[in-house]
């Protein structure tokens, strides 16, 4: 049989029959097949978006659900460019008029940089919309219900998470459709949730990104430095969970990881994540925020950048916590499902906007079941979160870390000068220690001792240091003077100050000082006695004399115990340190007045007993979220007895404030720091000129009785 090769045209009837038949079959399918089945997985590569598309046009099934009205936000054209928000693709802010939910004012608006089509809105300082100061508006669709489920789970687990609501955006009279409104996670967000000392930051775990290696807290370099110290984990080549310590809230982290897993099991840590940093506790608290629809994603992560969060994935304790959170949630699965269904009833009619409601509901049900029934019950979820870790590029320069002794790498020790001293004086080198026995030592040049060398000064040792010169110890320092037989450190010539004695370490070791008489240092504004990066600093019975209000003792980091000494004409500064100052006598000057006092910058300190007198400056200066207890302290004849700034918290009990020009001055300057507070218990006030100067955000409160545990010293501060 021969087949005809003649071409035949397809007639109009054939076209019509073909089209109508297909449409009829599709309409019948949507009318007769249950929406649950339609919302399921389709074979032959048919994608759910295609089914949704067909459902939108061809699903004629009737539904009587009516959604609640959605708040409408009206956004005007830009005051400057006169363009509407959808016309503007620039990166910068524009001022526009916003009206909605009882709010009406000009606001700053710009495009979101992490998601196409999103808008970021920042209200005027001092104005709030539903208690929020800034929020993002992201285009919403039927799939947005998933984000609402995840918000519900986050709330259930006690995670901090921004509220999600639906709004309709009308810009320049044009209806742009539904948007998800989500509060911006910033200091204001954290403070509203009781984290007074909280700052927000974002972090990345993608090792392919060569920038943003360490998170930064905008506008707060002190908090950034604290966070950087946590993030670099001591510069170790292979950090372990022990190196992270308690710097991450593990309970919140376990919940956060579980939610990340549930929301995106194939790639849980990709993208930008937002977290809170508690300045006072030096702790990172993860915040759950829905993932952004970044168009520039580059596939799943096969490794993670080594950060405290990812290092903790090796921690068995975290695994236990993770499982506990998972079990807790599994136990509540029934309730959660009911709550999700309640959310559906409110959200789905709005999201579906009248189209294919049943189908949208079925699709939502599938999503809900996938989250609650499938993913939540996966027992190896924690194990599946793990990936190999990569250190950040350049870690040797940025974070330190060596394989061999630092001695071969550190700047040159003053070996010649040390040799001269060893030859010409009684100075001894024993093992890894340099010992100053009783006698006189003239330090004519900078004396940089080799790294790892400990210094011991015995009773009766007298160091005379040339003008502008310093002694730098890069090991432990032990000054073992007694009250009768102290160690003296003085300038070579009385009128020409030396720089100081410095101890610089990498976070370990000890400084222990007793019976020290030190005076005449601080050339060029240097601290006379500087201790940096030492784990524990103990100073007993030291007499420190200075002039002009320069730092007499400056300690950065570690635990500090300073007891029973005097300091005149200068400050004792403690930066990010914790501990006790007990029975110290601080004076502005030996005779008359001068600058003197204690500076506590981000520190957690108990000041017990002692006095601060005749200071022309501030007796106790507390700043940057420091937490301080003043117990039985006498402040007399000072210009200001207590200055507390930027989110600091001071408790004062059994203190005497006598003859001060101002007793309390409280300021809250940095927006990210929260309010400054002073809690007063039973104190005595006599002959002070002015009681207090307190700005609008700060407060002086009356405290209840101080806990006995705190009074006894079993607990450092309340």
């Amino acid at each position: 049989m021969r087949r005809s090769i003649e071409r035949r045209s397809v007639g109009v009837v054939a076209w019509l029959v073909g089209s109508v038949a297909v449409v009829a079959v599709l309409v019948a399918s949507f009318a007769l097949v249950s929406p649950d089945r339609l919302a399921g997985v389709w074979p032959m590569g048919i994608r759910s978006t295609e089914v949704d598309g067909y459902a939108k046009w061809l699903d004629v099934s009737f539904s009587d659900s009516v959604g609640r009205p959605v708040p409408v936000y009206y956004i005007s054209a830009s005051g400057r460019s006169k363009r509407c928000s959808w016309e503007d693709h620039g990166r910068g802010w524009d001022r526009r008029w916003l009206e909605g939910e009882g709010y009406g004012d000009s606001v700053k608006v710009r495009r979101m940089r992490s998601e196409d089509g999103g808008l970021l809105v920042e209200l005027k300082e001092g104005t709030l919309l539903r208690e929020q100061r800034a929020f993002v508006l992201r285009p919403a669709g039927p799939g947005s219900i998933r984000q609402k489920y995840l918000e519900m789970l986050a709330t259930e687990m006690g995670l901090l998470t921004p509220e999600l609501t639906l709004v309709r955006v009308v810009s320049c009279g044009r209806d742009l459709g539904l948007y998800l409104k989500e509060e911006v996670v910033d200091a204001h967000f954290l403070q509203r949730r009781g984290m007074q000392d909280g700052s927000a930051f974002t972090s990345l775990f993608d090792p392919r990104t060569g920038y943003d290696l360490v998170p930064v807290i905008k506008g707060d370099s002190a908090a950034s430095a604290g966070l950087r110290a946590i993030w670099t984990m001591g510069g170790k080549a292979l950090p372990t969970p022990e190196d992270v310590g308690r710097s991450v809230d593990e309970r919140a982290l376990a919940a956060w990881l579980l939610l990340r897993w549930i929301s995106s099991p194939e790639d849980p840590l990709n993208g930008e994540h937002v977290m809170g940093f508690r300045w006072g506790q030096r702790q990172v608290v993860p915040v759950y925020r829905s993932s952004r629809g970044d168009a520039m994603t580059t596939g799943p992560l096969t490794t993670y950048r080594s950060t405290p969060i990812t290092v903790l994935l090796q921690d068995p304790d975290l695994r236990t916590l993770f499982r506990a959170v998972q079990d807790e949630l599994l136990a509540k699965r029934g309730q959660l499902r009911e709550r999700a269904e309640a959310i559906d009833r409110v959200w789905i009619p709005q999201l579906a906007e009248g189209d294919a409601l049943e189908h949208t509901l079925a699709r939502a049900g599938r999503m809900r079941d996938e989250l609650l029934m499938v993913r939540l019950s996966q027992r190896d979820a924690f194990e599946q979160l793990a990936r190999p870790l990569e250190r950040m590029p350049g870690w040797s320069a940025y974070g330190g870390g060596t394989l061999m002794a630092q001695a071969t790498l550190a700047p040159a020790a003053s070996e010649d000068h040390l040799k001269t001293l060893l030859r010409m004086t009684k100075l001894q080198s024993v093992g890894d220690s340099i010992i100053f026995p009783r006698g006189k030592y003239t330090i004519a040049e900078d004396l940089l001792l080799p790294a790892g060398t400990h210094v011991v000064m015995l009773p009766g040792a007298r160091l005379e240091i040339a003008p502008g010169r310093r002694v730098v110890c890069r090991g432990d320092l032990h000054i073992r003077g007694t009250r009768i037989n102290p160690v003296f450190i003085r300038p070579m010539r009385d009128t020409e100050p030396f720089a100081g004695l410095e101890v610089i370490r990498d976070g370990g070791g000890e400084v222990r000082i007793t019976g020290l008489h030190m005076s005449g240092g601080g050339a060029g504004g240097a601290a006379m006695l500087r201790v940096q990066g030492v784990e524990r600093t103990v100073v007993e019975g030291a007499i420190l004399d200075g002039k002009g209000g320069y730092p007499l003792l400056w300690v950065a980091g570690g635990d500090v115990f300073v007891t029973g000494g005097t300091a005149t004409g200068g400050y004792l500064s403690f930066i990010q340190a914790g501990g006790t100052l007990k029975n110290l006598e601080l004076r502005g000057a030996a005779r008359g007045t001068g600058d003197a006092g204690v500076i506590l910058d981000g520190s957690r300190m108990r000041i017990e007993g002692g006095s601060i007198t005749r200071s022309t400056g501030t007796a106790v200066d507390v700043r940057n979220g420091a937490q301080v207890l003043l117990l039985g302290l006498r402040c007399e004849a000072n210009t200001t007895a207590l200055l507390a700034v930027d989110g600091s918290l001071v408790h004062a009990d059994a203190c005497r404030f006598v003859d001060n020009a101002t007793v309390f001055e409280l300021r809250s300057e940095k927006a990210t720091r929260g309010a400054t507070r002073v809690l007063l218990y039973t104190n005595e006030y006599l002959d002070n000129t002015r009681d207090r100067v307190v700005d609008a955000r700060s407060s002086v409160l009356d405290g209840q009785r101080l806990d006995d545990k705190v009074r006894r010293g079993d607990q450092l501060i309340p």
Partner: protein, 534 residues
Amino acid sequence: MSRKGPSRSPVIWVFLALLGVSGVVFAALLGPTRALSIAAASVLSTSVDGLYEGIGGHQLRVLDISVDPAHLDTLNSDLPWSGGHNVPAEVRINGVVYKAKFRYRGALTPSHFLGDKRSFRLSFKDPPPDLPFDKVNVINPKSFNMLNNHMGLWIGGVMGVPVPHDELVQVRLNGRDHGVMELYEQPTGKLEQVRGMWPEEVPVYKGDFGPLQGRALGARNLLWSEAAHWQYVSKADSAMAHARLTSLVGLVSDRRMPLDERRDSLASLIHMDAYLRYLAALWVVNTAHIDQYHNQFLVLDPRNGLFYPILWDALLMYEQPGKPRYYVHDALAYWVLQVPEWRLLRDRHAWQALQWLHGEGLFQTRWNEVERRVMPSLLADRNKFANVTLQAEDVHRYSMVHAAASSASMQEQVRTYWDGLTTRLSGCRVRSERKEGALVLSTTDECPLELRWKTVEGQEVLVLVDGKPMATERVGAITRLVIHREVAYSGATAEPFMEKQQFTVKPLEVRLEFVPSLPEGLDVINAITDEKVH
């Protein structure tokens, strides 16, 4: 029945004849190998690459750039000389448009400006958060596989060396696909700021050829002969940095200073651990692309006032000539590699990196991952240009076949090189003999040795090495002594500014005397690998 074949048109014969003639002419003009390479590249890129149907989207970030075509014409008018002025451009990311300046870059390497995929630079006044750099280079990758530079830098980064951000991107220029390119951060003073390491700009010096002078290449200066040869590329205050750089350059060009003094002085100016990791990275990456004249950056570390280097343009397996143990790529390396402790530390860094990269397969995993991500874009890229012969001017379109072969060959080259390096670092056969109460150790391998024994309290052991007392080091319950190796310089005269020289390790024969006696449980260890020697 006779069957006649179809008659061939004379046009076909003419065409074939012209093809034959042109083949002969090109073979005669260029040489047969060169002509064949160019022809093969052309045929393969047309035939093989055309088969790809474009399934699947890009897994690379897409850089969507718009430049006025008239401006592009002016830049293209007389390359490479005409491409150096900035013209306005826009970069679109996530629907947000960022204003930028656009210019071509690279006048020395023809693959930057010949062909249709030209390397360019984008400068931002206010950069996007996704590309937070003032300046980025978007370059035509230098190898067929497109990964050499990217992976060379990645290795450096893993080893702890500061490196520029580098990633492969899919570029769209004026709405049309331009192909896969390499986005390469240009270091500026904001280097640490964009990494979150320091809140302000830091001093950064660039050591490279000078800028173009009209229609001539820039000056080729010996970087370490004068501080002025380093270009300052930061807005940070340079007073302190310049004083320290001048000291450092003075120190490097001074030939009389004793080694001990030089060591201490260098350590007071350079972040030595970072620098030794940098030297180790050059060795592991096996690159000679960084030299006395170019491809160097120095940053003054704001935390400690020491300089550290940035690994830049470290082409993977751009072989160091003569398989050197201690390659002297510049005058600073010449002095640093003379310090035995630093040589040992560099070797230990290299050894540790080999364990991670080669032993644990980190490199291979990463190569596969990057290749998997780049593949859809690479297959779709009909604009792949590179040198298809060893002649600089032969920049032509190449095909996927080239890319595949280059990838396989590069992986094999890396494996072979690292196998050799592992053997070289771990090789440590030592001959020991007792002679007149002394221990004589000898070896022709290159390993430094470490003697270790358990410390006995109250019993100090004095060690004489070739009759000279040596200080031992006590680490916990162990006492140790490192016997470093001596090196010889390959050049005729020991000169820091000679090019492509190396230090070779001299054979060791050392006589050890222990007073009062040989300690119990003495072990001889390879000081690099910490393994006992045989």
